[in-house]
Structure formats: C-alpha cells, structure tokens
C-alpha cells in the first residue's frame, strides 16, 4: 500500500488532532506549574516498519509493525516494575465535503507491560485479559508492537464513499497513576507516538 497524496480533509484532521494534543497537554496542571518543561520535538521517535490496510468482504483489516526505542524514562520505569501501557488506535473516516469527516469505525487495542522481578519475566496483558510472559523486554515489546490482520471495521460500516484510516500507536501516559502523569507531563522521553493516515482503497 502506498500512502496517498495529501488531501485537504486529511490536513484538516491532522490540524485538529494537533490542537487536541496541545489541549490535552495543557490539560496537565503540572505543565501549568512547572512551565513548559519540554517540547514534543525531542520525543522518542518510532517508525512503522510495515503498515497495511486491507478491505475485503469481511471488513477492514489492518496489519502493522512498529519499531521504536523506549526512552530512558519509560525504560527505567519498566525496570522498576512500573506498568507501561501501549495503545494502538485506528479510526476510519468517511469523507464529507460539506462538514467534518464522519467517523464510521473505531478500534482500540491496549497492552500493559509489566516486569515481574520475582521471576524476571515480562508479562504482557491485553485488554481482553489474555496475558503472556516473556523472558526479555525486547520480546515483550515486540509482542505489543505488531498486529496482523486486526479487524478494524465491519464491511457494513463502510459505504461506497471515500474513506481513510487514521492510525496511532503510542505510549499512553493517561493510564498511569495521576501523580506520575503530573510528574512526567511534558517530558519528551514519554512522548512516544507513531501516526499514519491512509486512504482505504
């Protein structure tokens, strides 16, 4: 799949999203107290090594693989047995020339990685409650950072119009304990986020 040429509505969406992120950042009072503690420009960068959207008669399926380095902060936290949360979020929008694009489908996956010092294993738990132990961090992260044929939408949810898919994979700090959120707000180490917007064929 090749990425589509820039499209007006896509731009608009991304601008709105940027605003949303800015707002969510301003949301944290810690930022308010400490002043602007850092810029997301220095955030740990990740990359999508593969990204595939497939639409067939069963629905829309997404396959992806993210490759990233954990920042020092999250790595440290993970080593200290603090659980980390990774979220993959996919949203499908229907183009509308007369209004904001309509969201037709939304799918989320959440992984929780925690180091168990007693057995020196990394345990990965998904939202559904399935969990698995991995002896190394790399294996555990690798398990969270890829999906194959993830069903994002039913076929009925899409019509004949033009659709596009927005995908975000990020380290979600909103699920951390609140004081910790306040403590790390604005810290670029924790700003891991990979995005991709793709037109659905």
């Amino acid at each position: 799949m090749t990425s589509l040429p820039p499209h007006g509505s896509l731009r608009r969406r991304s601008v709105l999203r940027a605003l949303g992120i800015a707002a969510s950042r301003a949301w944290f009072p810690g930022l308010w107290f400490a002043g602007a503690a850092g810029q997301p420009a220095g955030a740990a960068e990740g990359e999508l090594t593969s990204f595939e959207v497939v639409r067939d008669e069963d629905g829309v399926f997404l396959g992806y693989s993210v490759n990233f380095e954990l920042g020092k902060g999250p790595e440290d936290a993970l080593a200290k047995s603090v659980p980390l949360f990774f979220v993959a979020e996919a949203e499908i929008y229907r183009d509308r020339w007369y209004w904001r694009d309509r969201r037709v489908a939304h799918a989320t996956k959440v992984w929780k990685i925690v180091y168990q010092p007693l057995t020196s294993t990394y345990r990965v738990t998904t939202v559904g409650g399935l969990s698995q132990n991995y002896p190394t961090r790399e294996e555990a992260i690798a398990a969270t950072s890829r999906s194959v044929r993830w069903k994002v939408a039913e076929a009925a949810q899409l019509d004949d119009g033009r659709h596009y898919l927005e995908f975000v994979y990020r380290l979600d700090i909103n699920l951390l304990p609140r004081p910790m959120q306040i403590g790390i707000a604005g810290n670029p180490d924790w700003q891991l986020s990979v995005k991709r917007t793709q037109r659905i064929a």
Binding site: P29, S81, V114, P117, L118, T119, R178, P179, I182, G183
Partner: protein
C-alpha cells in the same frame, strides 16, 4: 406647635442599604463557595484515600482556578472602583480603603505564613517518604524472595535430573508404582512422564483426580532436550491486588522438566521427559508477591514524586490564593459593613455643617455604632428644634421691634432715647417733626450739639439729674415739665417762633434715659382762647354798661347847650359830641364783637342748605359780585347739614369779608366761594365742604399757626376776632376748619413771589348731615373727630 413625628421609633425609615452591600453579599457567597471547595480539596488529602483525591484532582483544580479567576476579577473591579473613588475624593472612600487594607492585611499575613510553612513541610515530607533505607529494604526483600524461589527452582531441577537419570538406567521403564514412589521421595505435587510432543504417558499426583496434568509448553521441552533439564517457577504473576496475590500464592508452583536418557539405543525409541511439579509454600509465595507489589508501588511513587509534589503544592497555592482573595473580599465587605454607619454619621455631620437639619438616616443595628447614628439623629433633631425655636423668637422679637418702630414712627409725640453718656440713641419721626430739626442725623451725639437746642438740652439734663438725685413725690419713675422753645425763625430775629413742649423723662435700664415730649402749643393756644373769651365777656359787660350813659349824656349836652352856645363854642360842642358819639359807637361795635366772640347765642340746630346760606350772604356783596371780584361756584344737590343758620351766616360773612379784605389792595383780586360734597370711597357723601379761596398774599407762617387765636390778624384794621369766631362756630358744628396757602407761601416780608399761584384758602367741612343716620353709622370717626 411643631408636633409632627420626627426621628426615633416613628421616624422615617433609613434608606435601603446600597447595592454595594448586595454586591458584598454576592462576593461573600462566592468566597464561601471557594472555601467549601478548598475544604473538599483538603478533605481529599486528609482522608486516607489518595486514589479518590487523585482521581478528582484535575477537575477540582480547574474549578478552583476558575473560582480564583472570578475572585481576582471581582477584587480587581472592587479595587479599581475603590481607587477611583479615592482619586475622585468621593466621601468616605479613604476610610473604606484604610479599613479594607487593614482587614486584608489581617487576612493575608497569616495565610502567607501558613503557606510558607506548609510549602516547606510538604516538599520536605514528600522527600522523606522516599528513603534510601526503605528502598534498600524493599530491594532486599525482593531479592530474598527471588533467591528463595531460585533456590527451590534449581533444587528441583537437580533432583528431577537425577530422578530422570535413574529412571533411564532402570530399564524397567516407567511403572506407576515407581513413579509414585519417586513422587513421595521428591515430595512433589505431581509427577508425569510425557512424550516428545508433550503427550502425557504416565502421571501421578494430587491433581490427577480427574484432570489431566497441565500440558508442558513445547518451548520447555525444547530447552530440556538441549540442556537435559529445565525448571521454572509459575503462578507468581503480578495481578495487582493483594487478594489476587494471595490466590496466586496458593497456586504457585515450580515445574521441572528433565529428559529421561535412553539406555537402549534402539531406533524409533520415543524420547521421554520427566515432569515434576512441586508446590511452593503458599505463605512464601504470598509474601514474595506482597513484597513485589510493595516494591512496584514504591517505585511508582518514587517516579511520581515530583508530580506529587507539584500536586500538593498546587493545592496549597490554590488554597492560599482562594484564602487570600476571600480574605480580600471579606475585607472589602467587612470594611463596607463597618464603615457604613461611620459614613452615615460623617455625611450627617457634613450636612449639619452645611446647615441641613433634615432628619438623618439611622443605621439599624443594635451595636454602639447604630446607637451612635441614632444619637446623632436625635441630636440633630434637637438642634433643629432649638434652631427653629431661636428663629421663631428672633422673628417674634423682630416683629415686636417692627411693631414698636411703627408705633414710635406714628406717635405724634416725640421720643428720644439717650444712652448712658447722654448721646442720642433713638429718635422717632415725631421728635423731628415737633422740633423741626433733623434729629436723626444727630444719632450718637449729644442733644446740646443740635443747633438751637443747647438751652433745652441743658434744662432737660438738669431735670434728669434732679430727678435722679431727689425725685419729687408723685413722680417716682418719671418727671414731667413743660418747656418753651424759642427758635430764631429769621436771621434778623424779627419773628421768633416758639413752641411749648410738655416733656416727660424716665430712666431706662443700663443708665439710658427716655424723653417723651409733646407739642402743646395748640393746647396752650386753646387755653389762651378760652382765657380771652372770658376776658372779652367781662370787658364787654363792664365796658358796655357805661357806654350808653356816656352817649346819652353827650347827646343831652348837645341838646341842652346847643342853642345857648354860639359861634365857635357851638361848633366845638358839636364836634366834641359827634366825636364822643362816634367813638362810643365804635366802642359799642368793638364790645359787640367781643360779645359775639365770647358768648355766642345758644345754637339752635336745624337742617340747612349751605348753598341757600351762601346765596343769602352773597346778596350783601352785590357790588363786589358785580365788579367780578367775588364769585360763587356752588355744587348742586348738596345734602342738607345740621347747623345754626345765624351762626353759619356769620361764618360765611366773616370768611368772605376776610378774603375781600385780603385782596382789597389788588386790582385783580378775586375771591371764590365754593361748595362741594366730599364723598368717601363707596360714593356716599361724607361731608359738605365750603371753601373760600382768594388770590391775595396768603398767610404768613406765624399767622397760619395761630390764626384762630383772637387778635391775630394781618389786617391794619380789624379786631382779629373774625377767624376766632369762625373757629368757635365750626367747633360747635363739629366741622373742621383748615387754613392753607395756595402755592408758595409769602416770604418773610410778606411779598408774594408769583402772582399766578398764590393766595389763601379756608375750607370748612361739615360732616353732620341732616339725613346722616346712614352716613354717621358708616363714619363714626367723622362725627367724633370734630371734637
């Protein structure tokens, strides 16, 4: 007099509290709300449920921020307003500012102090939570648990490997009995022999009661194949809660997998694994999990330390801000509250200073300030009443003074008040009129200084002194005397005017002296008239008696001696007798006139027509009328008057004769006699007036004053009784006589100044009318005035 309700219980309502205080109420409510939120905030901290607090932190924070912003806005508005008032010099704003500043200081200072202490406390205490020792202890605990479990795992691995080797050496393959024996030997929970693909070949143990033993993951089998033995702890997974940890502890176990070596190398022989599962003591597992959880929590908190600190300090700061702003607002509201009665009072004072004594507003409170305003309002009322009273009495005094002044001004008597030094203090117009001197111009000076009054003043003063020293009996508080004042009427002193004054003196308080005097010249004149008439009557009587014998004797002499004498003697006799007779006749006339004056015949009053009388008398002056010197101008339809015809005829005769005499020497002398009816405002005839006008030289000033006294005359011949008789008859008729000069009076020498406008006029007003019942009733003064 003025009993309308004033202040006090029934007084007017005080004005409603201004919107300022309503505003203060809103602000106070806001502040109370803020305080409540802060309390909720602090409650969240105080309760040992940090999770709840942390969950609600953000929205609480923003609500508080919003509230703080609202408070800031309100305070800024209030402050700007207050400063604006101060800069405008609005009344009371300085006091308000001062009070607000004081209250604000009282509110803010402790708040800031507490904030500083709390800030230090929070930041230090949060740091103290994260102690190296605690961290070390947790680490040690964790390591302890891990070491124990590792020991168990490796021990089981060794044992399992040995057991597997023994199993492999004893070719008797696997028998359930030996397996069971092995299980007991290893005190394992479960022992199984599985095939290369993980299928269970033989199993024994507590869990075999129904269920197949747990399948061994292929990964483990692979490892066991490579390393001969592999073991791991299971069921120690993190589940978060303590209950889950306890449950996990119950199912915690160690599993070891070892390859059973094959002794016969027959091909196709299936490789087998010995799987030994051993329980970990539940207490140990639970403790190890608890330590793990605590460690995790601790690490989490350590990581969140700065956030926590920010959170607490943010809470504190917000609390401070809210408290300070609340304090500021309360300060403004309270100072308003406190300043209200003071401002009311001050405003009232300012109003009173401006002279506004209207009833003042009362601050309705039971404290001393309210009492102060109440007292002030009462005081103002009393002041107002007192002022009104003073004003009224001043008005009364003014009225009395005006009254007195009016009385004084219209008093015919002259009044002069001297102060203690003898200087003139008060003079009424009467005094000026009587003395004919501008006395009011001499106010503050002594009476001696008035020209022509030196002697009079001296005499009066002496009399005052005398009275003061030795008051005569009967004049305890005043003295009375008559003085004759001589005025040099002309420069050459030819005519000396004199007036007679009756002076009464009295001492007034504070050494002042009062002098009241009347011009009694006319009175004296009347007395003189009276005396004259008495003299005339006696003289007439005494003189008339011998006259007839004298005349008769003389005529008899002529009769007897007339024929005997001849020549010159006879002539002389005749001449002498004629002279005697003529003179006696003249004497008789004189005496008759005296008699007429002194003893007029008793009047007999009848209704008379004045016009008829005039015509009758004028009949005697035919020549004068014909020559045009005398003319009559009679009003028609004159009402009849009550009078004595004979006497009135005499009056008219006298007047006409006088007038004709006055113009006798003038070629163009004219005399006019006029009758007319004087009417009052309603048109009724008040009096009948008879006027005789001539264009002669007029009367001199001196004569004018005493014209009605006998022997006052301007004629060379005449008794001077004419006008005296007129006056007397007029008095008897209740008529008023007026003498006046027309135009400019003649100068001292009697020369007329201007021919056209001069002459004399005598007018008689008869107010007793024949049909005067109505008129008399209307004009009682007219009849009584005549006397």
């Amino acid at each position: 007099m003025n009993d309308e309700p004033r202040l006090g219980a029934g007084g007017p309502e005080p004005p409603p509290l201004p919107r300022r205080s309503r505003w203060a109420w809103i602000v106070s409510t806001l502040a109370a709300l803020g305080a409540g939120l802060v309390l909720a905030f602090l409650l969240g901290i105080a309760t040992s449920n940090p999770a709840l607090y942390e969950r609600h932190y953000v929205w609480l924070f923003w609500v508080n921020v919003a509230l703080a912003s609202a408070l800031v806005a309100v305070i800024v508005i209030a402050g700007v307003r207050m400063l604006w008032r101060v800069s405008r010099g609005r009344f009371g704003s300085r006091l308000l500012l001062k009070l607000a500043a004081i209250f604000a200081l009282v509110g803010i200072l402790p708040g800031v102090l507490i904030y500083a202490v709390s800030y230090q406390f929070v930041s230090r205490s949060i740091e103290t939570w994260f102690d190296v020792k605690v961290e070390g202890a947790l680490d040690a605990g964790l390591n302890l648990g891990r070491g124990t479990i590792d020991a168990i795992v490796s021990d089981l691995a060794t044992k399992t490997r040995l057991a597997a080797e023994r199993l492999g050496e004893s070719a008797s393959s696997a028998e359930p009995l030996s397996l069971e024996r092995l299980r007991e030997q290893l005190s394992a929970r479960e022992i199984a022999v599985v095939g290369g693909s993980g299928q269970t070949l033989l199993a024994t143990g507590s869990t075999t009661s129904g269920l197949m033993p747990e399948r061994v993951p292929p990964q483990m089998l692979r490892q066991a194949r490579a390393q001969r033995v592999v073991s791991q702890a299971e069921g120690l997974d993190e589940e978060g809660t303590a209950a889950a940890a306890a449950a996990a502890g119950a199912s915690a176990r160690v599993r070891a997998v070892a390859l059973i070596p094959s002794t016969n190398f027959a091909l196709g022989e299936q490789e087998r694994f010995l799987v030994v599962t051993q329980s970990i003591a539940p207490g140990l597992a639970a403790n190890a999990l608890a330590v793990t959880n605590a460690y995790r929590e601790y690490q989490q908190r350590a990581l969140a330390r700065s956030g926590l600190r920010k959170m607490y300090i943010g809470t504190l700061t917000l609390a401070l801000v809210l408290a300070v702003f609340g304090a500021l607002l309360l300060a403004i509201a309270l100072s308003n509250q406190l300043a209200q009665p003071l401002l009311l009072l001050a405003e009232g004072v300012a109003q009173v200073a401006r002279g506004d004594f209207s009833s003042k507003a009362v601050f309705k409170s039971r404290d001393e300030l309210g009492g102060l305003t109440r007292s002030f309002a009462e005081m103002t009322t009393q002041l107002s009443d007192a002022r009104e009273l003073v004003h009224r009495s001043v008005v009364q005094v003014e009225g009395a003074r005006a009254n007195l002044q009016t009385i004084l001004d219209n008093l015919t008597a002259g009044v002069i008040v001297f102060d203690r030094n003898g200087a003139i203090d008060t003079v009424n117009p009467g005094a000026t009129r009587i003395l004919k001197l501008p006395l009011s111009a001499y106010k503050g000076r002594r009476l001696d200084e008035v020209a022509g009054l030196g002697g009079f003043a001296q005499a009066v003063w002496q009399r005052f002194e005398l009275h003061a020293e030795s008051p005569e009996a009967g004049e305890r508080d005043h003295w009375q005397d008559s003085f004759e004042l001589q005025f040099a009427a002309t420069a050459d002193g030819r005519e000396r005017d004199s007036i007679t004054l009756l002076v009464r003196g009295a001492a007034m308080p504070q050494g002042a002296r009062l002098m009241v005097f009347d011009d009694i010249t006319e009175l004296v004149s009347a007395q003189r008239v009276e005396a004259w008439s008495e003299v005339a009557r006696r003289l007439a009587h005494e003189i008339k008696n011998p006259l007839t014998p004298i005349q008769l004797s003389a005529e008899r002499l002529q009769q007897k001696l007339g024929g005997k004498l001849v020549g010159a003697d006879q002539g002389m006799l005749e001449r002498s007798v004629t002279t005697i007779v003529n003179q006696v006749q003249a004497m008789k006339t004189l005496v008759n006139e005296f008699r007429d004056y002194a003893r007029l015949p008793a009047s007999s009053f009848d209704a008379l027509d004045v016009n008829a009388l005039v015509v009758e008398v004028l009949g005697l002056y035919g020549t004068a009328q014909e020559s045009g010197r005398l003319s009559a101008d009679l009003a028609e339809s004159l009402p009849a008057i009550v009078g004595d015809g004979t006497q009135l005829r005499q009056v008219i005769h006298n007047l006409v004769q006088n007038a004709l005499d006055a113009v006798a020497e003038q070629a163009d002398g004219r005399v006019r006699i006029v009758t007319e009816a004087a009417k009052n405002e309603s048109g009724d005839v008040r009096a009948v007036r008879l006027v005789v006008v001539d264009n002669g030289p007029g009367f001199s000033e001196k004569v004018l004053k005493r014209a009605f006294e006998p022997y006052v005359t301007t004629k060379k011949k005449g008794t001077g009784l004419g006008l005296a008789v007129v006056k007397k008859i007029a008095d008897e008729h209740g008529a008023r006589v007026r003498i006046a000069n027309i135009g400019a009076p003649p100068d001292a020498a009697g020369n007329a100044l201007a021919d056209s406008a001069r002459g004399a006029q005598v007018s008689l007003s008869f107010s007793k009318l024949a049909t005067t019942v109505r008129v008399a009733a209307n004009e009682p003064v007219a009849t009584s005035k005549a006397h």
